[in-house]
Symmetry: C2
Subunit: 169 residues, 2 copies
DNA sequence: GACAGGTGGTTCAGATTTGAAGAACTGGGA
DNA sequence: TCCCAGTTCTTCAAATCTGAACCACCTGTC
């Protein structure tokens, strides 16, 4: 094994900054969503993906890609959403095994209600804290970082999940 | 309530990049540590903090600051470490309520053994993917982001946790 | 058509996390 | 001294997450 290349001061600063920002932002948004909308971040993301899809329906598998939980985790979260009436399960017409998650009207309403507060929180926690050029560097650099760790042959899943949380509705 | 300021394209790219990089890196490192050293990232961080402290001992409370888990989470993780003989609990001499977590020799060995692989993984996943200037921008920008969400009157807890994982031993 | 191998989702047990509640104690003022 | 508010840490139940095991099903091949 080669000699270990330890982190120098600047590298360490970047790593620690990343670690701290990461956990604080995630915890902060998790709480904001829970308080304001009764949703976990994972659930919010599911709703966003569904709302962006034509018909408001997406195969479980497609949902799992790009959504950063395990398959069983997704099953669990969708069940929770179903229990609250925000999503329905429907069997896939082209593949009997398949299951479609379908956004209900209540789900769409919930998302519509939650989105403004969430976007505001994202701005306050991250976006509006950054300068314009920092924002771009961050987007490029972290984009590369994320892409490299992406399972082979998998689309970003982030490419166009725009929907309610992105552009003006 | 003011009109919602939705995210424009560049802002959205930054946010999504952040989200994806965040979860992929964290998941990746979690697995690397688990496989190579049988530690969770949280446990690794605890060991690092202890190894950097004089005497290898730190109050639970001090450990909790800067470590991004709840108090009960810390109790749980320290119990796990104790069960594996990497850490001992000792009561604090200056405050009967207090508990000191103390690094055992086995704990120090475990950390020493785990550190090179972990640093290599951090490099491969994040640090070596970034250009020099991106690294600095990221450190400054995310440093600011993390600091803003820091509970009032709390030191970074990241300031000097150097120890084994930082500089050349 | 029948088979082998891969896919899609769920279920399960076990690990982890969280906030709330509790038990024990400190510290400073009346 | 006594009391009260605040601190420290643990315990508890409930929620969540994970990987492995599992069943049902699709698909390409012979």
């Amino acid at each position: 094994m080669a000699e270990t290349r330890w982190l120098d001061e600047r590298e360490m600063a970047a790593w620690k900054g990343f670690l701290e920002a990461t956990s604080r932002v995630s915890r902060h948004l998790e709480q904001q969503l829970k308080e304001d909308a009764g949703l976990s971040h994972a659930q919010y993301e599911i709703l966003v993906r569904l709302s962006a899809a034509p018909g408001g329906e997406v195969r479980m598998t497609d949902l799992a890609h790009g959504l950063f939980t395990s398959k069983s985790g997704l099953t669990y979260q969708v069940s929770q959403l179903e229990k609250h009436g925000l999503v329905e399960r429907r069997s896939c017409p082209t593949d009997v095994r398949g299951v479609l998650a379908v956004l209900t009207p209540e789900g769409r309403d919930t998302l519509r209600a939650a989105a403004p507060g969430h976007v505001a929180a994202v701005r306050a926690a991250l976006i509006d804290v950054l300068e314009r050029d920092e924002l771009d560097v961050l987007a490029h650099a972290l984009g590369r970082v994320g892409a490299r760790l992406r399972p082979a042959g998998q689309d970003s899943g982030m490419a166009d999940s725009g929907g309610i949380s992105t552009s003006s509705s």
